[in-house]
Protein backbone atom coordinates (compact mmCIF):
# COMPACT_ATOMS: atom_id res chain seq x y z
CA UNK A 1 0.00 0.00 0.00
CA UNK A 2 1.49 3.28 -1.05
CA UNK A 3 1.92 5.69 1.82
CA UNK A 4 1.89 9.46 1.89
CA UNK A 5 5.11 10.85 3.36
CA UNK A 6 5.28 10.79 7.14
CA UNK A 7 3.42 13.69 8.73
CA UNK A 8 6.27 15.09 10.75
CA UNK A 9 5.85 18.59 9.40
CA UNK A 10 7.34 20.04 6.24
CA UNK A 11 11.11 19.94 5.99
CA UNK A 12 11.19 23.10 3.91
CA UNK A 13 8.93 26.07 3.37
CA UNK A 14 7.67 24.93 -0.01
CA UNK A 15 6.87 21.42 1.14
CA UNK A 16 4.02 22.75 3.27
CA UNK A 17 2.16 23.20 -0.02
CA UNK A 18 2.71 19.62 -1.18
CA UNK A 19 -0.49 17.86 -2.17
CA UNK A 20 -1.36 14.55 -3.85
CA UNK A 21 -0.85 14.59 -7.57
CA UNK A 22 -4.03 14.46 -9.63
CA UNK A 23 -3.86 11.89 -12.39
CA UNK A 24 -5.67 12.79 -15.57
CA UNK A 25 -7.56 10.31 -17.68
CA UNK A 26 -7.47 12.06 -21.01
CA UNK A 27 -4.48 11.81 -23.27
CA UNK A 28 -2.41 14.95 -23.12
CA UNK A 29 -5.30 16.64 -21.32
CA UNK A 30 -3.14 19.55 -20.37
CA UNK A 31 0.04 18.56 -22.03
CA UNK A 32 1.36 17.15 -18.83
CA UNK A 33 0.30 13.52 -18.87
CA UNK A 34 -1.26 10.79 -20.85
CA UNK A 35 -3.81 8.23 -19.83
CA UNK A 36 -1.37 5.41 -20.19
CA UNK A 37 1.46 6.85 -18.22
CA UNK A 38 1.96 7.62 -14.59
CA UNK A 39 4.98 9.83 -14.94
CA UNK A 40 4.72 13.56 -15.19
CA UNK A 41 5.76 15.54 -18.23
CA UNK A 42 5.95 19.04 -16.88
CA UNK A 43 6.76 22.14 -18.85
CA UNK A 44 10.22 22.03 -17.40
CA UNK A 45 12.14 19.50 -19.42
CA UNK A 46 13.18 16.84 -16.90
CA UNK A 47 16.12 15.97 -19.10
CA UNK A 48 17.47 19.48 -19.17
CA UNK A 49 20.38 18.82 -16.84
CA UNK A 50 22.80 17.57 -19.44
CA UNK A 51 23.76 19.93 -22.19
CA UNK A 52 24.30 16.95 -24.38
CA UNK A 53 21.34 15.89 -26.38
CA UNK A 54 20.93 12.38 -25.16
CA UNK A 55 21.01 12.76 -21.42
CA UNK A 56 23.38 9.86 -21.11
CA UNK A 57 25.74 11.22 -18.53
CA UNK A 58 23.46 11.97 -15.62
CA UNK A 59 24.47 8.89 -13.73
CA UNK A 60 28.03 10.09 -13.58
CA UNK A 61 27.34 13.33 -11.75
CA UNK A 62 28.00 12.07 -8.28
CA UNK A 63 31.43 10.91 -9.27
CA UNK A 64 32.52 14.21 -10.74
CA UNK A 65 36.00 15.39 -9.85
CA UNK A 66 36.62 18.24 -12.22
CA UNK A 67 39.59 20.53 -12.40
CA UNK A 68 37.49 23.18 -10.70
CA UNK A 69 37.01 22.06 -7.14
CA UNK A 70 33.42 22.92 -6.35
CA UNK A 71 33.98 22.47 -2.65
CA UNK A 72 36.77 25.00 -2.75
CA UNK A 73 39.14 22.66 -1.00
CA UNK A 74 42.78 23.59 -0.99
CA UNK A 75 45.12 21.64 -3.20
CA UNK A 76 46.65 20.13 -0.11
CA UNK A 77 43.32 18.87 1.11
CA UNK A 78 42.51 17.57 -2.34
CA UNK A 79 45.80 15.78 -2.53
CA UNK A 80 45.12 14.24 0.83
CA UNK A 81 41.74 13.12 -0.25
CA UNK A 82 42.98 11.38 -3.34
CA UNK A 83 44.74 8.92 -1.07
CA UNK A 84 41.46 7.82 0.39
CA UNK A 85 39.35 7.97 -2.73
CA UNK A 86 38.32 4.92 -4.63
CA UNK A 87 36.75 6.69 -7.57
CA UNK A 88 38.55 7.16 -10.84
CA UNK A 89 39.63 10.53 -12.23
CA UNK A 90 40.04 9.94 -15.92
CA UNK A 91 41.36 12.45 -18.41
CA UNK A 92 37.88 12.67 -19.86
CA UNK A 93 35.78 14.75 -17.49
CA UNK A 94 32.93 12.39 -16.60
CA UNK A 95 30.69 15.34 -15.82
CA UNK A 96 31.20 17.01 -19.17
CA UNK A 97 27.61 16.31 -20.03
CA UNK A 98 26.43 18.66 -17.32
CA UNK A 99 25.93 22.24 -18.27
CA UNK A 100 24.96 22.97 -14.69
CA UNK A 101 27.57 24.03 -12.21
CA UNK A 102 25.73 22.07 -9.54
CA UNK A 103 25.17 18.44 -10.46
CA UNK A 104 21.65 17.13 -10.01
CA UNK A 105 20.32 13.67 -9.54
Amino acid sequence: MAMWPASTGPATFLLQFEEPHQVVDAAVACGTQTGTRTTEEPDQDPGIHPSIACATQTMTFTREEGDQDRDALSSIVCATQTLTKTVEDPDQDPGIGSYFAIPRV
Binding site: P10, F13, T32, E40, P42, D43, D45, I48, A53, C54
Partner: protein, 315 residues
Protein backbone atom coordinates in the same frame (compact mmCIF):
# COMPACT_ATOMS: atom_id res chain seq x y z
CA UNK B 1 15.69 15.04 -43.79
CA UNK B 2 14.37 16.07 -40.38
CA UNK B 3 15.87 14.19 -37.43
CA UNK B 4 13.52 13.93 -34.47
CA UNK B 5 15.45 13.32 -31.29
CA UNK B 6 13.05 12.10 -28.65
CA UNK B 7 11.97 9.07 -26.62
CA UNK B 8 9.54 6.27 -27.34
CA UNK B 9 6.84 7.43 -24.93
CA UNK B 10 6.75 11.12 -25.78
CA UNK B 11 3.16 12.01 -26.67
CA UNK B 12 4.09 15.34 -28.18
CA UNK B 13 6.54 13.60 -30.51
CA UNK B 14 3.86 11.05 -31.40
CA UNK B 15 1.48 13.85 -32.25
CA UNK B 16 3.84 15.99 -34.29
CA UNK B 17 5.51 13.11 -36.14
CA UNK B 18 2.11 11.82 -37.24
CA UNK B 19 1.17 15.27 -38.48
CA UNK B 20 4.48 15.86 -40.24
CA UNK B 21 4.47 12.51 -41.99
CA UNK B 22 0.90 13.17 -43.09
CA UNK B 23 2.06 16.49 -44.52
CA UNK B 24 4.84 14.81 -46.46
CA UNK B 25 7.77 15.92 -44.31
CA UNK B 26 10.62 13.41 -44.53
CA UNK B 27 11.84 12.54 -41.07
CA UNK B 28 13.73 10.00 -39.04
CA UNK B 29 12.50 9.60 -35.48
CA UNK B 30 15.29 8.56 -33.16
CA UNK B 31 13.97 7.35 -29.80
CA UNK B 32 17.09 7.40 -27.72
CA UNK B 33 15.70 4.98 -25.14
CA UNK B 34 15.24 2.25 -27.73
CA UNK B 35 17.74 3.16 -30.42
CA UNK B 36 20.37 0.71 -29.19
CA UNK B 37 18.13 -2.08 -30.47
CA UNK B 38 17.31 -0.76 -33.92
CA UNK B 39 19.92 1.79 -34.96
CA UNK B 40 23.63 1.58 -35.68
CA UNK B 41 26.13 4.40 -35.87
CA UNK B 42 29.21 4.41 -38.03
CA UNK B 43 32.07 6.73 -38.89
CA UNK B 44 34.31 6.20 -41.87
CA UNK B 45 36.14 8.48 -44.30
CA UNK B 46 35.55 11.40 -41.96
CA UNK B 47 31.78 11.17 -42.08
CA UNK B 48 29.37 9.84 -39.48
CA UNK B 49 26.30 7.89 -40.49
CA UNK B 50 23.19 6.66 -38.74
CA UNK B 51 21.67 3.47 -40.07
CA UNK B 52 18.25 2.00 -39.54
CA UNK B 53 16.75 -1.00 -41.25
CA UNK B 54 15.39 1.27 -43.96
CA UNK B 55 17.84 4.07 -44.46
CA UNK B 56 21.29 5.50 -43.99
CA UNK B 57 21.44 9.10 -42.83
CA UNK B 58 24.66 11.07 -43.06
CA UNK B 59 24.96 13.88 -40.56
CA UNK B 60 25.53 16.32 -43.40
CA UNK B 61 22.14 15.37 -44.86
CA UNK B 62 20.26 16.33 -41.72
CA UNK B 63 18.55 19.60 -42.58
CA UNK B 64 16.88 20.05 -39.23
CA UNK B 65 16.85 18.51 -35.76
CA UNK B 66 13.86 18.69 -33.46
CA UNK B 67 15.05 18.13 -29.91
CA UNK B 68 12.08 16.80 -28.00
CA UNK B 69 13.17 15.44 -24.64
CA UNK B 70 15.39 12.46 -25.46
CA UNK B 71 15.95 10.01 -22.63
CA UNK B 72 19.05 8.08 -21.62
CA UNK B 73 20.10 5.24 -23.88
CA UNK B 74 19.01 1.83 -22.63
CA UNK B 75 21.15 -1.17 -23.47
CA UNK B 76 20.54 -4.89 -23.13
CA UNK B 77 24.22 -5.64 -22.76
CA UNK B 78 25.29 -8.38 -20.39
CA UNK B 79 27.64 -7.66 -17.50
CA UNK B 80 27.51 -5.85 -14.21
CA UNK B 81 26.20 -2.33 -13.57
CA UNK B 82 29.57 -0.73 -14.27
CA UNK B 83 29.90 -2.54 -17.57
CA UNK B 84 26.38 -1.58 -18.62
CA UNK B 85 27.04 2.02 -17.62
CA UNK B 86 30.17 1.91 -19.74
CA UNK B 87 28.17 0.66 -22.73
CA UNK B 88 25.52 3.32 -22.19
CA UNK B 89 28.21 5.99 -22.14
CA UNK B 90 29.84 4.65 -25.27
CA UNK B 91 26.47 4.70 -27.01
CA UNK B 92 25.80 8.19 -25.77
CA UNK B 93 29.13 9.48 -26.93
CA UNK B 94 28.73 7.87 -30.34
CA UNK B 95 25.38 9.62 -30.70
CA UNK B 96 26.86 12.88 -29.48
CA UNK B 97 29.67 12.54 -31.97
CA UNK B 98 27.18 12.14 -34.78
CA UNK B 99 25.01 15.01 -33.59
CA UNK B 100 27.99 17.29 -33.10
CA UNK B 101 28.44 17.27 -36.89
CA UNK B 102 25.11 19.05 -37.31
CA UNK B 103 25.44 22.80 -37.16
CA UNK B 104 23.72 24.71 -34.37
CA UNK B 105 21.41 26.63 -36.64
CA UNK B 106 19.70 23.44 -37.73
CA UNK B 107 18.52 22.58 -34.24
CA UNK B 108 15.23 23.42 -32.62
CA UNK B 109 16.39 24.01 -29.97
CA UNK B 110 20.11 23.55 -29.57
CA UNK B 111 20.51 21.60 -26.28
CA UNK B 112 22.90 24.03 -24.65
CA UNK B 113 20.54 26.90 -25.44
CA UNK B 114 17.76 25.09 -23.58
CA UNK B 115 19.97 24.69 -20.55
CA UNK B 116 21.02 28.32 -20.46
CA UNK B 117 17.40 29.42 -20.83
CA UNK B 118 16.04 27.21 -18.07
CA UNK B 119 16.90 29.17 -14.95
CA UNK B 120 13.82 30.91 -13.61
CA UNK B 121 15.71 33.51 -11.66
CA UNK B 122 17.89 34.52 -14.56
CA UNK B 123 14.85 34.61 -16.84
CA UNK B 124 13.34 37.28 -14.61
CA UNK B 125 16.51 39.35 -14.70
CA UNK B 126 16.85 39.03 -18.45
CA UNK B 127 13.15 39.62 -19.20
CA UNK B 128 13.40 42.96 -17.44
CA UNK B 129 16.29 43.91 -19.70
CA UNK B 130 14.09 43.33 -22.73
CA UNK B 131 11.27 45.50 -21.48
CA UNK B 132 8.93 42.83 -20.12
CA UNK B 133 7.03 43.43 -16.91
CA UNK B 134 7.88 40.91 -14.20
CA UNK B 135 6.55 40.35 -10.68
CA UNK B 136 8.58 41.68 -7.79
CA UNK B 137 10.63 38.62 -6.83
CA UNK B 138 12.38 37.46 -3.68
CA UNK B 139 14.53 34.39 -3.17
CA UNK B 140 15.42 33.97 0.44
CA UNK B 141 16.19 31.69 3.34
CA UNK B 142 15.42 34.41 5.86
CA UNK B 143 12.10 34.56 7.70
CA UNK B 144 12.69 38.24 8.40
CA UNK B 145 13.14 39.01 4.70
CA UNK B 146 10.06 37.04 3.81
CA UNK B 147 7.94 38.73 6.44
CA UNK B 148 9.12 42.16 5.33
CA UNK B 149 8.32 41.31 1.69
CA UNK B 150 4.95 39.90 2.70
CA UNK B 151 4.01 43.03 4.62
CA UNK B 152 5.23 45.29 1.81
CA UNK B 153 2.92 43.43 -0.58
CA UNK B 154 -0.01 43.50 1.87
CA UNK B 155 0.10 39.73 2.09
CA UNK B 156 -0.35 39.21 -1.64
CA UNK B 157 2.61 36.89 -2.05
CA UNK B 158 2.99 33.51 -3.73
CA UNK B 159 5.60 30.82 -3.34
CA UNK B 160 6.59 28.67 -6.27
CA UNK B 161 9.10 25.93 -7.04
CA UNK B 162 12.26 26.99 -8.81
CA UNK B 163 12.91 23.74 -10.63
CA UNK B 164 9.88 21.48 -10.68
CA UNK B 165 6.81 21.13 -8.51
CA UNK B 166 6.34 17.47 -9.30
CA UNK B 167 7.53 14.95 -6.71
CA UNK B 168 7.56 11.56 -8.33
CA UNK B 169 7.43 8.49 -6.12
CA UNK B 170 7.51 5.38 -8.30
CA UNK B 171 6.55 3.24 -5.32
CA UNK B 172 4.41 5.75 -3.48
CA UNK B 173 1.98 8.60 -3.94
CA UNK B 174 3.37 11.23 -6.26
CA UNK B 175 2.61 14.79 -5.35
CA UNK B 176 2.64 18.34 -6.63
CA UNK B 177 3.57 21.72 -5.34
CA UNK B 178 1.70 24.42 -7.19
CA UNK B 179 2.28 28.12 -7.08
CA UNK B 180 0.59 28.85 -3.76
CA UNK B 181 -0.61 31.91 -1.91
CA UNK B 182 1.41 32.58 1.23
CA UNK B 183 -0.83 33.35 4.17
CA UNK B 184 0.17 34.63 7.56
CA UNK B 185 -0.14 31.09 8.85
CA UNK B 186 2.57 29.92 6.46
CA UNK B 187 5.20 32.47 7.38
CA UNK B 188 6.68 30.59 10.29
CA UNK B 189 5.16 27.14 9.76
CA UNK B 190 8.17 25.59 8.11
CA UNK B 191 11.90 25.84 7.99
CA UNK B 192 12.71 28.54 5.45
CA UNK B 193 16.41 28.41 6.27
CA UNK B 194 16.61 24.81 5.07
CA UNK B 195 16.23 25.66 1.40
CA UNK B 196 16.26 28.80 -0.77
CA UNK B 197 12.63 29.56 -1.69
CA UNK B 198 11.18 31.70 -4.43
CA UNK B 199 8.50 34.26 -3.59
CA UNK B 200 6.76 36.71 -5.86
CA UNK B 201 4.15 39.36 -5.47
CA UNK B 202 0.81 37.88 -6.46
CA UNK B 203 -0.31 39.26 -9.79
CA UNK B 204 -4.03 40.08 -9.86
CA UNK B 205 -4.66 38.14 -13.03
CA UNK B 206 -7.76 38.58 -15.12
CA UNK B 207 -6.56 35.58 -17.07
CA UNK B 208 -3.42 33.60 -17.95
CA UNK B 209 -1.79 33.50 -21.36
CA UNK B 210 0.38 30.81 -22.91
CA UNK B 211 2.51 32.19 -25.73
CA UNK B 212 4.10 29.62 -28.01
CA UNK B 213 6.89 30.76 -30.30
CA UNK B 214 8.05 28.71 -33.28
CA UNK B 215 10.56 30.73 -35.28
CA UNK B 216 8.59 33.69 -36.63
CA UNK B 217 5.23 32.46 -35.37
CA UNK B 218 4.10 33.92 -32.05
CA UNK B 219 0.82 32.34 -30.96
CA UNK B 220 -0.98 33.60 -27.85
CA UNK B 221 -3.84 31.77 -26.17
CA UNK B 222 -5.78 33.11 -23.21
CA UNK B 223 -6.64 30.62 -20.48
CA UNK B 224 -9.79 31.56 -18.60
CA UNK B 225 -11.03 29.80 -15.49
CA UNK B 226 -14.69 28.97 -15.76
CA UNK B 227 -15.04 28.36 -12.03
CA UNK B 228 -13.42 29.61 -8.88
CA UNK B 229 -10.16 27.95 -7.91
CA UNK B 230 -6.85 28.01 -9.65
CA UNK B 231 -6.62 31.77 -9.63
CA UNK B 232 -3.06 31.52 -8.41
CA UNK B 233 -2.01 28.51 -10.48
CA UNK B 234 -4.01 27.75 -13.62
CA UNK B 235 -2.72 24.16 -13.68
CA UNK B 236 -4.84 23.10 -10.70
CA UNK B 237 -7.47 20.40 -11.30
CA UNK B 238 -5.57 19.48 -14.45
CA UNK B 239 -6.98 22.62 -16.04
CA UNK B 240 -10.37 20.91 -16.27
CA UNK B 241 -12.43 24.09 -16.20
CA UNK B 242 -10.25 26.19 -18.41
CA UNK B 243 -11.65 27.89 -21.49
CA UNK B 244 -9.21 28.71 -24.29
CA UNK B 245 -9.28 31.74 -26.53
CA UNK B 246 -6.82 32.86 -29.21
CA UNK B 247 -5.81 36.45 -28.54
CA UNK B 248 -3.53 39.09 -29.96
CA UNK B 249 -0.32 39.78 -28.14
CA UNK B 250 0.63 43.45 -27.72
CA UNK B 251 3.49 44.42 -30.02
CA UNK B 252 5.62 45.60 -27.12
CA UNK B 253 5.26 42.24 -25.38
CA UNK B 254 5.85 40.24 -28.55
CA UNK B 255 8.95 42.27 -29.31
CA UNK B 256 10.30 41.83 -25.80
CA UNK B 257 9.64 38.11 -25.88
CA UNK B 258 11.28 37.70 -29.29
CA UNK B 259 14.35 39.54 -28.10
CA UNK B 260 14.46 37.47 -24.92
CA UNK B 261 14.31 34.20 -26.86
CA UNK B 262 16.82 35.42 -29.42
CA UNK B 263 19.23 36.27 -26.62
CA UNK B 264 19.08 32.64 -25.52
CA UNK B 265 19.32 31.33 -29.06
CA UNK B 266 15.89 29.69 -28.81
CA UNK B 267 13.79 29.03 -31.89
CA UNK B 268 11.00 27.44 -29.87
CA UNK B 269 9.64 28.26 -26.44
CA UNK B 270 6.44 28.30 -24.42
CA UNK B 271 6.08 31.37 -22.25
CA UNK B 272 3.61 32.13 -19.48
CA UNK B 273 2.08 35.50 -18.76
CA UNK B 274 -0.63 36.82 -16.49
CA UNK B 275 -2.81 39.65 -17.78
CA UNK B 276 -4.36 42.06 -15.30
CA UNK B 277 -7.69 43.79 -15.56
CA UNK B 278 -5.77 46.86 -16.72
CA UNK B 279 -4.37 44.77 -19.63
CA UNK B 280 -0.86 44.72 -18.25
CA UNK B 281 1.03 41.61 -19.41
CA UNK B 282 3.24 40.21 -16.65
CA UNK B 283 5.90 37.70 -17.62
CA UNK B 284 6.18 34.62 -15.40
CA UNK B 285 8.55 32.23 -17.12
CA UNK B 286 9.65 30.63 -20.34
CA UNK B 287 9.92 26.89 -20.95
CA UNK B 288 12.44 26.15 -23.69
CA UNK B 289 11.09 22.65 -24.22
CA UNK B 290 7.61 23.24 -22.86
CA UNK B 291 4.30 21.61 -23.66
CA UNK B 292 2.23 22.83 -26.57
CA UNK B 293 0.47 19.89 -28.24
CA UNK B 294 -2.52 20.10 -25.93
CA UNK B 295 -3.41 23.47 -27.42
CA UNK B 296 -3.71 21.84 -30.84
CA UNK B 297 -5.67 18.95 -29.36
CA UNK B 298 -8.25 21.21 -27.73
CA UNK B 299 -8.64 22.91 -31.08
CA UNK B 300 -7.41 26.39 -30.30
CA UNK B 301 -4.18 26.32 -32.33
CA UNK B 302 -2.51 24.57 -35.25
CA UNK B 303 1.01 24.82 -33.97
CA UNK B 304 2.07 21.69 -35.80
CA UNK B 305 1.84 23.70 -39.03
CA UNK B 306 4.32 26.21 -37.65
CA UNK B 307 6.71 23.38 -36.85
CA UNK B 308 6.21 21.91 -40.33
CA UNK B 309 6.96 25.27 -41.87
CA UNK B 310 10.02 25.76 -39.69
CA UNK B 311 11.48 22.38 -40.60
CA UNK B 312 10.68 22.63 -44.27
CA UNK B 313 12.03 26.15 -44.49
CA UNK B 314 15.52 25.20 -43.33
CA UNK B 315 17.95 25.37 -46.26
Amino acid sequence: MLLVLTSSADETANYLCTKLIGAGVRLLRLDTDTCARNVTIGYARNAPVLRTQDLTLRAEDVRAVWLRRPKPVVVDAAGDDAQRAHVVNEWGEALEGYLAHISKDRWMNYPAANVVASHKLEQITRALRFGLTVPDTLLTQSCEELESFWRKKDGRVVAKPLASGYLERPKGVSSSIYTSRVGREHLHAADLAACPTLFQEEVAKAFDVRVTVVDEAVVAVALHREEAGGEVDIRRDNMRNVHYEPIDIPIRVATGLRRLLASYGLRFAAADFGVTAAKSWVFFEVNPNGQWAWLDLVGVTNLWQDFAHAFEARP
